[in-house]
Symmetry: C2
């Protein structure tokens, strides 16, 4: 299969000049088939020396690894990514005797590399526009929901077809621009991935949750893995016989350093953005969704911390979960703060007002787009009548054992349908993945935490307004309120866990093999609870599908309308597919009278040192600074080792671990964060304040060389000056 | 009397060149008779256009006002100072109907100016070196304590003598360099001071406790008073017949603005610094004093806030107290943090080590100074055996009614002695002032708060180690511990307040007229408590005097020794006498990769706005910004109104409200704070980070003109461009 580089429909028009006039600046997460339409002359002037084709070829070195992005940096399958992307893997590699999070890990030979079951590295093999193939199933007169289901079905067909055509390939059809376009992506997923190197958390996670999202930053957020395959390079499960994957395309590491104004670009797999959303969506998030999530995350953190306090072994098990929740909390809080501070809702409303005024002057366009916003508004008004209930049910599903048993129950129901009519979440392919991951999650399962979470969230559901009550919660409390109601919930949950035969996630695995009839015959309160959950969830899911089906069509239309109004070059919202983004090294002014410089130094690591986590830099690192033992990794401008730097590239979650490349395509850093002031950039990019935070490649080399004495790994890399 | 401008003994030597070589930089709070010894050529190159004589003459425009400094800015006794210096006065001028803290205050005519009873403005009339006159009473063979008492006595004599020689003059003999020098200062104290203008706290205290000590700052920290006198200009108590004081010397206001690098100087009344202290003193503060004070202030704040929560009227009364405590808390916490962060103790120890090494190489100096440090160490070791007890007794004295009754009791004891042998705190002159202030304090007295404070601190005294127990606390708890002991204390305090005939501070005033015998005849638990306090306090006071007597001599010697080692030009530690300090407008780097610019703008006020105290800028101010209605007060560099600025002058508490002058002696700002990073500058000045924070004179004019429409006041000022 060859990638077809044709134009991006009506969206990529010839008005590239408009791009210069627009406020887009360095905004944009571009698909690789959009590269040639970028303002190439400008990019060259700013320092880009590669052609679109040369950039496209680098895709073979940019992989999905766990929740982030990684890059191939040697011909022998060596992958560089973030420490925080590797965190779960390092945790799983650790034992009670060997805490690699705390101590770091060095495999001084291939034999010492630690396999991480369930940890995968995925390559993008190819992709193409399949809009026509997908949309040919849409017929006149279909309702939005019928249309939605037909498309879902068609996507599955195309995926199955592609997987039959290619060996060892996973196919995925994804929508762009809310379904205006569809792309087929072909992936190769490697399942034998081994840990090679991790710095101690006091380097790799220096600053911890306090510094998360913050600049100035001093985190050495990197780790190394290696991809293994069978001797023919096929992606196979772990085996002792596997060998390092031969990787023809890999990124050289620059030791030349960065300075203000240097051109940079990033390739990676950004997760989700919402750049084309309406004011109704913004309002929903500001008023309902973020406040709910903040409460959800904070409650879960409090609950888990209380459980962790009682037992150090439990503390280790839930640490990754808490870390994730803290990140989510800070993210949601930052979003909400940012929405308010940047007055996003007000601005969106203003833009829409101008759009409507423009339509008033253009009757032809008004006929096409005049009702879009109003219809979106109505859909959101309806969403609000069941959003709280949906949210609280989702919170209840935070409790892992009940939600696992529910998955088995639901899968049994879906199994009775034709594969084409199943909820895609319960397709055979997806269930296989989920079951594999279940065993890994089981190692971190803590029944007391699980029980506590369910209690907390059932109690919270007591707050729901009359029109959104969850019936089984009402059943549990039977009209009681206050402390009485809470007591009833405690008793219900204790009974649920005490009386159930299922004690951990693994024990529920056999359920996934059973039919609904067989499940219904088992007398177990956990299965009974699953049945009750199902009764509440199914109708809501249908409502959500209806909402999605309708809103997608309207969002498409809105994008078209705004495009017809403003013109320019558009990129699709992030959806975890491979993207290219560029910008330069640049600081910013976070507030009046304060300037943030774009590079930090080892001096700053020492300044932040308190001896206590998360500012507990290792003694040896402090000594290296005192003795100015910087090797050849010194930054001449700083007269110190550079640690992290800022640039104007456009990234989001999922980009973590992405390679940061200079104009020659050499790796100058690894992206690991965005800045707090620009957290809302998922909704709106702002060139003045939106920055990527990356760890400097020379800090990585300095740590490997001077701190970890791991010259062997450096030898495997291709260093360029 | 004429000020004699002779040299400063052996300290002011000819090695002025050394000054350039030393690390002193802009450090120094210089006495006015030291001016001519400063590096004059350098100052002229940096922009100073005045001669030492011209600067000296400005002293007539620089006054003590309450706890701060003020400056005369019109020929009719108009005084400019900080809003936070004026806070207590504005509070006292307020009524339940008119809250001038919240609303601000404008007297649009002389008639509307509000007299503030007890509020005073003090001019430095003259000063001279009286070292010889003081030290002539020191005789061979005196013990340090005898010497100390003889000097105290002699100082009182010289003061009385000066006050007899001059009409309407208060005299004060103060020591410099721990008693190496003594200066006689003559003051004229005006007692009819009226409030002319205060901005609302949402300007004058914008940022409140959160921004206190912080940069970037956006506080319009200024207010105006007017000094009144009888028709001959004499300082008299308030009378309707009084007229504005004619002030021949006053400061013109510059509207030219400041920019980076501009020369500035300050005259004012800095309170206390400890620049020549030994490592033992640093250690005592780091390990004992600051941790104790932090606990003391935090406990008092918590207690008062709890009481304030119950009653808005109480909240108003204790707000000033809480404000002061918060300032103290932040100050102490910042000091402690700064000590640790800047490793002050380590550095002092290192310097002392080098000093001792130098002495080893110079036997003549070793004979003179070899034992100083060791002796200081021994004194501090002894101090530690009763420091905790002293501190807890001081905390107990936070409770106002018991401490007032104690003062009366103690005064009765002291009265029986000859004036010359009395504790100077209980001299007739001091008692008169204290009684006057008592009536003012009474207006803010809240019995429930007083009672709560006493309970809290008596309970804290339970922690004292066996060798430092307070006997009346042990009596109260009678061997009980834990909750039982606390209950006993609650009962004791409730009984003390319930059974006493004294219900507020005013009710205790008649006690000050009684003899000890008469007091002993009154049956009242509050007087009984005073008796018990006295039993504990007197021996500790003697110990403290002994400590002071000995430590002063050793500190003098240490200063001499270090001077003989390092040379240079020395200035005496701050002691609330008039000082001159210079520097330039300059930002700083608070930490790696962050630059603080030296000027803030109105834009930043709007950025910080949350609508909630302390970021509740008035609507009108926000509008002025939106409309860019800046009048002629715009800063061309910022293209906005400048609000506050930073400069490298050397100030401390007491300097609040000091005039900031440019090289021509025109007022460009009013100093109101130091920066958090340099809080330890009371112990050690650091040119890289020690900064004065001042409000820009143009912000003052902008607020008067555009916000308050108070052009009349502007007309009274002398504006220069």
């Amino acid at each position: 299969m060859r990638r077809r580089n044709f134009a991006f429909g009506f969206l990529i028009i010839l008005l590239v000049t408009l791009f210069h006039l627009s406020a887009l600046a360095d905004e944009g997460m571009w698909l690789l088939d959009q590269l040639k339409d970028l303002p190439w002359k400008e990019l060259q002037q700013r320092g880009l020396q590669l052609s679109p084709d040369q950039i496209s070829k680098l895709k073979d070195a940019v992989v999905i690894i766990d929740g982030g992005t990684g890059e191939i940096v040697s011909p022998n399958g060596l992958v560089l990514t973030n420490h925080h992307v590797a965190f779960g893997a390092i945790q799983r590699a650790s034992t009670p005797e060997k805490n690699y999070i705390k101590e770091g890990f060095i495999a001084r030979s291939l034999e010492e590399e630690i396999p991480i079951p369930g940890y995968e590295v995925t390559f993008t093999v190819d992709f193409k526009d399949v809009t026509k193939e997908v949309l040919e199933v849409v017929k006149e007169g279909m309702t939005p929901l019928e249309r939605f289901k037909a498309i879902e079905h068609r996507k599955s067909e195309l995926e199955d077809q592609a997987e039959k055509e290619h060996k060892n390939i996973e196919a995925s059809v994804v929508e762009m621009f809310s379904g205006m376009k569809y792309y087929l992506f072909l992936y190769k997923r490697y399942k034998d991935v081994r840990l090679v190197y991790a710095p101690p958390a006091s380097i790799g996670n220096y600053g911890g949750d306090i510094d998360n999202w913050m600049w100035p930053r001093h985190t050495g957020d990197f780790s190394f893995f290696r991809v293994y395959a069978d001797k023919d390079g096929n992606p196979v499960e772990y085996s002792e016989k596997n060998v390092p994957l031969k990787t023809r395309v890999f990124l050289p590491i620059s030791t030349a350093g960065v300075k203000k104004g240097d051109f940079t670009f990033i390739m990676g797999y950004p997760g989700r953005t919402y750049r084309y959303r309406s004011s109704y969506s913004i309002e929903y998030h500001e008023k309902i969704n973020y406040p709910f999530q903040i409460d959800l995350y904070q409650s879960a953190i409090n609950t888990l911390e209380a459980v962790a306090k009682k037992d150090p072994a439990v503390a280790i098990k839930v640490s990754g979960f808490i870390k994730g929740l803290n990140n989510g909390l800070k993210n949601n809080q930052g979003m909400l703060d940012g929405f308010k501070k940047l007055k996003l809702l007000e601005k969106k409303k203003q833009t829409e007002k101008e759009f409507l005024a423009y339509l008033d002057q253009h009757p032809d366009l008004k006929a096409k787009y005049g009702e879009v916003l109003e219809k979106i508004g109505k859909l959101y008004a309806d969403l609000k009548t069941y959003a709280d209930k949906s949210n609280y049910l989702r919170a209840i599903m935070f409790s892992q054992l009940p939600s696992t048993v529910y998955s088995a129950y639901r899968y049994a129901i879906e199994k009775e349908k034709k594969e084409s009519e199943r909820d895609p979440a319960y397709s055979e392919k997806n269930m296989e993945r989920r079951l594999r991951y279940l065993e890994i999650r089981n190692a971190m399962y803590v029944p007391s935490a699980d029980r506590a979470l369910l209690k907390v969230f059932l109690k919270k559901a007591l707050r729901l307004p009359p029109n959104q009550r969850i019936s089984f919660v009402d059943e549990i409390v039977q009209g009681k309120s206050g402390a009485e109601a809470e007591k009833a919930i405690d008793q219900f949950v204790d009974n649920l866990f005490d009386q159930s035969q299922f004690k951990d996630l693994k024990s529920a695995v056999p359920l996934f093999k059973k039919s609904k009839k067989e499940l219904d015959e088992i007398q177990d309160p956990m299965i009974e609870f699953a049945r009750k959950l199902n009764k509440e969830l199914l109708p809501l899911e249908e409502k959500n599908k209806e909402f999605e089906a309708q809103i997608s069509l309207l969002r498409q239309k809105l994008i078209r309308g705004i495009y017809e109004w403003k013109g320019g070059l558009l990129y699709p919202d992030a959806n975890r597919t491979l993207r290219f983004t560029y910008g330069d090294v640049r600081g910013y002014t976070p507030r009046d009278a304060v300037i943030y410089l774009p590079k930090t130094s080892l001096k700053g690591v020492v300044e932040k040192y308190t001896g206590k986590e998360p500012f507990d830099a290792p003694e040896k690192l402090l000594q290296l600074y005192q003795q100015r033992d910087f090797g050849s990794w010194i930054d001449p401008e700083l007269n110190d080792v550079a640690v992290d730097f800022l640039h104007t590239t456009d990234i989001t979650g999922g980009n973590s671990g992405s390679p940061v490349l200079n104009g020659k395509g050499e790796l100058i850093g690894v992206a690991f964060d965005g800045n707090y002031e620009a957290m809302t950039s998922d909704y709106q990019f702002n060139n003045d304040i939106t920055r990527t935070i990356s760890v400097d490649s020379r800090y990585i080399l300095f740590i490997l060389d001077k701190f970890s004495d791991f010259q062997n790994l450096i030898k495997e890399l291709k260093l360029v000056k």
